[in-house]
């Protein structure tokens, strides 16, 4: 049974049809890559799923609930977390705080509890902190120890990406959407992140959708690849099939005959 099922998704921005009737589904525990040339509508696709834009038409069923008109925070609460293409941390909050704040919708102590410093408030704060540390320990030694209290902006690019993933994990999602997680990383970091994406499913049981340009990563992690071009799904299948698909090659490289004649 699919955890996310999207039918006939359409969204236009003025004259540009960012998504033009996209059907998409992902089963629980699957890792699916969404690829396509720049401007194909990949990030718009994520933005619509997470509620930043509401679609012009179409249905987005997450665990059977239509989330097409939900607010972003409601969608996070239902269990979809995301990262951003251009890393967007809370730069002046510490690493630990970044992860702690992500548990907002899973915790509930209000003002009164905070002001009175009630035992339940203290317990919850402790739990939030412990869970944050647990999530960060998923990245080995990278985001541990003295790093906890460092502001996020001192982190290296790769660590920022890792922290963003940690933050998404801390919202306790079922489905994680990763938007170009390896952009700007060197080959070694990319390889490491590839393993990490696999671990996200193995160890944590998340279902993952990845937007990725790096084909090696796509090949290594995905069970299935979806190719978008000009807002239309032009191909779908496992990596081997996709990489041979003439439409996909055309979308990326152009039509060979034309290149010769032109």
């Amino acid at each position: 049974m699919p955890i996310l099922e999207i039918t006939d998704l359409r969204k236009g921005f003025g004259g540009v049809q960012a998504l033009d009737g996209v059907d998409f589904h992902i089963d629980k525990g699957e890792i699916v890559s969404v690829i396509g040339p720049n401007g194909a509508g990949k990030t718009s696709f994520f933005n619509i799923i997470t509620g930043y834009f509401s679609p012009d038409q179409g249905e987005i069923l997450f665990n059977g609930i239509n989330i097409a008109d939900h607010q972003p925070h409601e969608i996070t609460e239902l269990g979809i977390a995301r990262t951003f293409q251009n890393v967007r941390l809370f730069p002046n909050m510490t690493v630990l705080e970044n992860v702690m704040v992500a548990q907002h919708c899973r915790t509930k102590t209000g003002m009164i509890g905070t002001l009175l410093n009630t035992p339940s408030f203290r317990r919850e704060e402790r739990e939030i902190e412990e869970f944050a540390k647990e999530v960060l320990s998923f990245f080995g030694q990278r985001l541990k120890g003295y790093r906890w209290d460092q502001p996020a902006y001192v982190l290296s690019y790769a660590n920022r990406r890792r922290l963003e993933i940690a933050r998404a994990m801390a919202t306790m999602p079922e489905l994680i959407l990763l938007d170009e997680p390896t952009a700007g990383m060197n080959p070694r970091e990319t390889a490491e992140l590839t393993d990490l994406i696999k671990q996200l499913r193995q160890d944590k049981g998340y279902t993952v959708v990845v937007i990725e340009h790096e084909m090696r990563v796509v090949r290594d992690v995905s069970d299935r690849v979806v190719v978008l071009d000009h807002g239309v799904k032009i191909a779908e299948g496992d990596y081997g099939t996709i990489s041979q698909d003439p439409d996909v090659i055309e979308a990326y490289l152009g039509r060979p005959a034309e290149a010769k004649n032109g």
């Binding site: 925070h73 951003f84 809370f90 992500a102 907002h104 002001l115």
Partner: protein, 605 residues
Amino acid sequence: MTDTLERAVAPEARTPNPVEWSKVQKWGVLGGLTMSFIAAIGMVTSLDRRLIVSPWLSLGFVTLLWVPVAYGFIAATEDVPDGKPAPVKGERDLVAGLVTGLLSGLFFSFFIVVIDAIDFTDIFRNLGPKLVELLTFGRSLGVATVLWTLGSGVLGLVGGALKVVPRKTRAALSAAVVGVLGVALLEIIVTDITQGLRIEFVADWIYALNGGLTTVSGAVIAGLSGVLGWRSDQRTLSERRLERMNLDPDVRLRKNIIAAIITILAVIFLPMILGGLTNELLANVGLFVLMGLGLNIVVGSAGLLDLGYVAFFAVGAYTTAVLTSPLSPYWVPQLTLNFLSWEGWLIVAIVLVMAAIAGIVVGTPVIRLRGDYLAIVTLGFGEIVRILFLSDWLAPYFGGAQGILNIPSAALGPVAIKGTSSQAMFYLISVLAGIAIYVAWRLQGSRTGRAWTALREDEDVAEAMGINTTAVKLTAFVMGAIFASMAGMVFAVKVGSIFPNSFKLLVSIIILVVVIVGGMGSIPGVIVGSVVLIGILGGPTQPGLLQEFGEFKLLIYGAILVAMMLKRPEGLWPSLRRQRELHQDDLSQDAWLRETADQDEGGDS
């Protein structure tokens, strides 16, 4: 730190850079302009009666004389790009300072000649014979011209010399000047305190009969503060802040606790020794601390620029007035603001509820706006509230332009807390401010506080993290409203009568300036900001310590704000987070130096 660097680079190997004449020219002319401006706005004339050192130095002249010193210092300063060795100090600095001073003096002399030749009093009230007489010391124009040019030349030289002398000497000299000015300006307070301590003879010795220090006491105070300055550790405020940032959290916490205990003790015992006037000042400061803390949550923590904050202050004041004043049509005779009876607490509860309602009513429509749009709309709402209270339509309820008079004093059981007894008032305000500080402090490190910070940092991402931004923003708004309404309640009781014009836009702006100057998002910052601005300069209607400057208060506010934005945008006592934000580069540099920065492979940070 600079000193060590200078020593590290062998000085004999390098020759000093030539004087930057364009810079000298620029600051010389600017100096002349500044002096002329200060004279033209009437500062010199109106502050001439106030003596600093009797009988030869008045505050009026001090407002002029600092200019050549400061600008001479600036003109002598060389901008050195990072990584280049520190400049060699020496004669060039003295020459730069001297010429800057001479230029300023020349320019200013020209200004005196012009206002002597042409009487501007029709257009500029102050530019007349009276000013000329004062500035020429009753002598001929020629003598005055020479005196001013040479005089400011010498002062410019002093400015340049300050650059050359070692840091310790500079600290001692500045301390001496600050000491003399401070003791002279704080005459009222010092007298007030010595009376409280029954050591009036000290004040009698320090101050001359017609105000100001005597020459002898001036010299003694300059000497004493100079020694203190010499002996103080030479770190600047920001160095200390940086050091504090790098402290172990536990040590920091302990230091904070000690500071808090000292503050609490001071708040309890100070009013007993201080006289009425000082207590009055402190009460005003407390009032602004209360409001500043509220605005600090809205602007500092949640990042919502609210320019209509005074509206909530007005709501608190009017609610209290309507319920308790016998002249109000809705007067409930049983209700008095007695904190030992349930009626008193009922009033507090009603004020809080009204504030929360006002917060929700104003907040709900504007909450979806961001940044500048939010600022403009809240500004409008602030004015709408004031005009509603002023309107004829609501006059039957709120008295229109006449306001509401005869608001009775508050009480604690049998003890009346009258507006006139500033000591009792100060205690009441301190308790409220204390509660506000506690609330603000608890919220800061909580789930709500984190959500506010996230909101301020990046609203879209905060929403993706499952934060209901609308609800969280509204909470911040309502919290701010509640703090302001408490201040409004005390204000109504304190002044006894309120008018719509007590709640002008200026109040909102001044509270915002308090928060900005103190340090956005920082609780001690709000207190420091209130003390500096409200206590020393005075609030929108309240006189401050330097009552003489009352006329020029807003000008000085503006100057402080501009200077702060240029030199210390994080405020006087910034929160750690804000300090980080504005000094990211320095800090990452420091971190890199300490080798604690990212040691990620490839050094790709």
